[in-house]
């Protein structure tokens, strides 16, 4: 492997400030109250008191409430999280320069200059923790290590990893901390349980076996940055500026105005074959004051930028900022080459990078024809039916599953999975020997053995075998999305097999095992 400058160097010395259970702190709930925030029916955050009762993040709401029936449920509100966190950002910014908000509750900044100024990393850490604790009204932890990923883990333990000690520090962590549940599951099945074991594998093998995502994971496990940072500053013409005339007075209007700006920025990045990993958003007002924040995120789709501007301005207004917004400015602060993470793993020949660049350009062309959401990529997620276990996510959006995929789903249908999944299930009919229509009775059993299956308008076909019915009572707590259904696998004498669902007395073909 050729050592291209900048690709093999360890991540930059980074400090991360972590406010545990921030969404609950932002909601005004202290750690002594057993409370949870639920998102998509899964515990998104919980307090120390809830953890003491056996509640865990990622648990299903039902299980959490079973563990401790007295749990206080707090509404999920990302805007509240961001608004409250702005206090902390403002206070820490006075102690450490170039703060980045990774997400509400998580801050990062480069250590070198600040540590020199404060007389060492330990003193800096102490001051930042004091400042953040006072401003946030909650306990917080600080970690320092090489690179954002390692620093985030260091913050969990509240430790300062000595320079060059990052690979050793990372080695003991389980692969689950990579935040890539699918990959972690795969690695565990292959007997690779820790970051150290992953880091020890040859890079080219990792890329060949696990693809670009595996390549990124391998970089992280070795204590390198997620992607090689493109050398130098981004070209200046990437900055997107909008002068608002008339000036905008509401947060919503500003969030609306920033969308076309974000799209313009996106087009310029595509034209340069770049991806922005850190974005500075500036809002200037007629009073001369300005709100500036650095945001780190995996995607800067128009919606993602609008959300961040909204959080930023709401925090600014809460903090006493006043005036009309006259100028919005988006400055990519750190960019990487699209698909560049493969570069050092394929021996620097650039072949794969060219392919990824070519695909990115073709995607941009198709988006030009059909709009930004026309091109999608498959992202695994959790769910009980085939359609919700894999989501097609727009190319530009963050490729994160809506539900974590490696959790057991008791009534999920076991593999093999159907190769054809219908968004609009086809009507179906099931009949017995004497031609009686077959349904599911109150105890969840078939009213009679199956003989014939009719799919859509096709003629009936003889049934060869069936499995189930498996009952599914989905989202029973949510009247709008509640579904009670029974699922059935049916194979026919012509060698085909289907996944059928019965709801409200009607059978439909949800998928075919083609």
């Amino acid at each position: 492997m050729t050592a291209t400058p900048g690709l093999q160097t360890p991540g930059r010395r980074t400090a991360v400030v972590w406010c545990p259970d921030w969404p609950l702190t932002a909601a005004g709930v202290g750690p002594e109250t057993a409370a949870i925030i639920v998102r998509d029916d899964v515990v998104a955050a919980c307090t120390a008191a809830a953890r003491a009762e056996g509640v865990r993040g990622g648990q299903k709401r039902r299980d959490a409430q079973r563990a401790y029936p007295g749990l206080l449920l707090v509404e999920h509100d990302p805007r509240r999280d961001a608004r409250g966190f702005d206090r902390v950002v403002g206070a820490v910014a006075a102690v450490a320069p170039r703060l980045e908000v990774v997400q509400p509750g998580l801050l990062a900044f480069p250590v070198r200059g600040a540590a020199r100024y404060h007389g060492g990393e330990a003193t800096l850490a102490e001051r930042v923790v004091d400042t953040a604790t006072t401003a946030g009204g909650c306990g917080c932890r600080l970690g320092i290590a090489d690179g954002l990923f390692a620093a985030t883990l260091a913050a969990r333990r509240g430790v300062i990893v000595p320079p060059a000690g990052t690979p050793a520090f990372l080695a003991g962590w389980p692969v689950g901390v990579l935040g890539r549940p699918e990959l972690a599951g795969l690695l565990r099945r292959l007997g690779i349980r820790t970051l150290g074991e992953l880091a020890a594998l040859p890079g080219s093998d990792v890329l060949a076996r696990f693809g670009p995502d595996g390549g990124v994971a391998h970089r992280l496990a070795r204590g390198l940055d997620e992607r090689p940072v493109a050398p130098g500053r981004p070209p200046p013409d990437l900055t997107a500026v909008a002068h608002l005339d008339p000036p905008v007075t509401s947060v919503d209007a500003a969030a609306f105005a920033v969308r076309p700006l974000a799209e313009r920025l996106h087009d310029r990045l595509v034209a340069h074959g770049l991806v922005c990993t850190r974005l500075a958003i500036t809002a200037e007002t007629d009073s001369g004051a300005a709100s500036v924040r650095l945001w780190r995120h995996g995607s800067y789709s128009a919606a993602a930028v609008a959300d961040r501007l909204r959080w930023q301005l709401e925090g600014w207004v809460t903090g006493g900022g006043r005036g009309q917004v006259t100028v919005l400015r988006l400055v990519p602060d750190e960019v990487v080459r699209a698909g560049g993470e493969q570069l050092d793993l394929c021996g620097g020949d650039g072949g794969d990078r060219d392919a990824a660049d070519r695909v990115a350009r073709a995607v941009a062309r198709v988006q030009g024809l059909l709009g930004p959401y026309a091109v999608t990529v498959p992202v695994p997620g959790g769910g009980r039916d085939p359609a919700s276990r894999l989501a097609w996510v727009p190319w530009d959006e963050e490729r994160r599953p809506r539900h974590a995929p490696d959790r057991p789903w008791p009534s999920g249908i076991p593999p093999p999975y159907p190769a054809l999944v219908y968004a609009d299930p086809l009507p179906a009919g099931l009949t017995g020997t004497s031609g009686t229509v077959i349904g599911v009775d109150g105890r969840g059993a078939l009213s009679e053995p199956l003989s014939w299956l009719t799919v859509g308008a096709e003629p009936p076909v003889g049934v060869a075998g069936w499995g189930g019915p498996w009952p599914a009572d989905e989202r029973w707590w949510d009247p709008a999305r509640h579904r009670r259904r029974a699922r059935l696998q049916v194979s026919t004498v012509d060698g085909r097999a289907y996944l059928l669902a019965c709801a409200g007395g009607r059978w439909r073909v949800e998928a075919e095992y083609d």
């Binding site: 060949a208 693809g211 670009p212 995502d213 794969d352 392919a355 990824a356 070519r358 695909v359 350009r361 073709a362 995607v363 062309r365 198709v366 024809l369 059909l370 026309a374 091109v375 999608t376 990529v377 498959p378 992202v379 695994p380 085939p386 276990r389 894999l390 097609w392 190319w395 249908i413 076991p414 593999p415 093999p416 999975y417 159907p418 190769a419 054809l420 999944v421 219908y422 968004a423 078939l446 053995p449 199956l450 060869a464 075998g465 069936w466 499995g467 189930g468 696998q489 049916v490 194979s491 012509d494 060698g495 085909r496 097999a497 998928a511 095992y513 083609d514």
Partner: protein, 196 residues
């Protein structure tokens, strides 16, 4: 591979790799770059197509999917398709020929599910475009310009009884036929989709 299927002189410059048991059926032991291959769905055709996608993507190929929102991504992942190298345009509407051409420019393999009846001029243009770009156009359906056609017959599912068990695996016979060196059809039994 059991035997070298052809004289080396007739081999195309490059093929995308396929599973060993399929390689035995294909004249060049893989999917020749620059060719159109028809794989009609039904009776296991979709799984066969995903198995082809899996081997190619594992070897580093980028794959495009056009006009096929029903394609089961979960089945794709289970059959070994490297999801991060897949891009899909599910609903290109009237623009599907232009979208297919754009993806053929960049991807190594493009899966097209032709929407309804296809104009012969589109068939000619896209087949030629695939040849020019050294990409494989994998058509989920019939394609008059295809040099190779892979179909499935005699699909047998295992695992289901009368109201007991669940699907565990399936075997099909894959039949490969086409023009030139593929004129003599070959058949082989292949396992597509297991519970593992």
């Amino acid at each position: 591979m059991a035997m070298p299927p052809l004289r080396p002189a007739q081999r195309p410059a490059e093929v995308l790799p396929v599973r060993p048991e399929l390689a035995e059926l294909l004249p060049y032991g893989g999917l020749p770059r620059g060719s159109a291959v028809a794989v009609p769905p039904g009776g296991g055709g979709t799984s066969l197509l995903l198995a082809l996608l899996a081997e190619a993507s594992r070897a580093g190929a980028w794959c495009g999917v056009v006009c096929w929102p029903e394609l089961g991504g979960l089945a794709a992942a289970a059959l070994g398709v490297v999801l991060p190298r897949v891009v899909a345009v599910h609903e290109p509407g009237e623009q599907w020929p232009a979208v297919t051409a754009a993806l053929l420019d960049a991807a190594d393999l493009v899966v097209l599910r032709p929407p309804g009846r296809v104009d012969p001029s589109d068939v000619r243009r896209l087949t030629a475009h695939a040849r020019e770009r050294r990409a494989v156009l994998l058509v989920a359906g019939e394609w008059p310009g295809a040099g190779l056609r892979l179909s499935t017959v005699d699909s047998r599912w295992a695992g289901l009884a009368e109201g007991a068990g669940h699907l565990t695996g399936r075997e099909v016979t894959v039949r490969a036929e086409g023009r030139g060196p593929a004129a003599r059809p070959r058949e082989g039994r292949v396992v597509l989709g297991t519970a593992a």
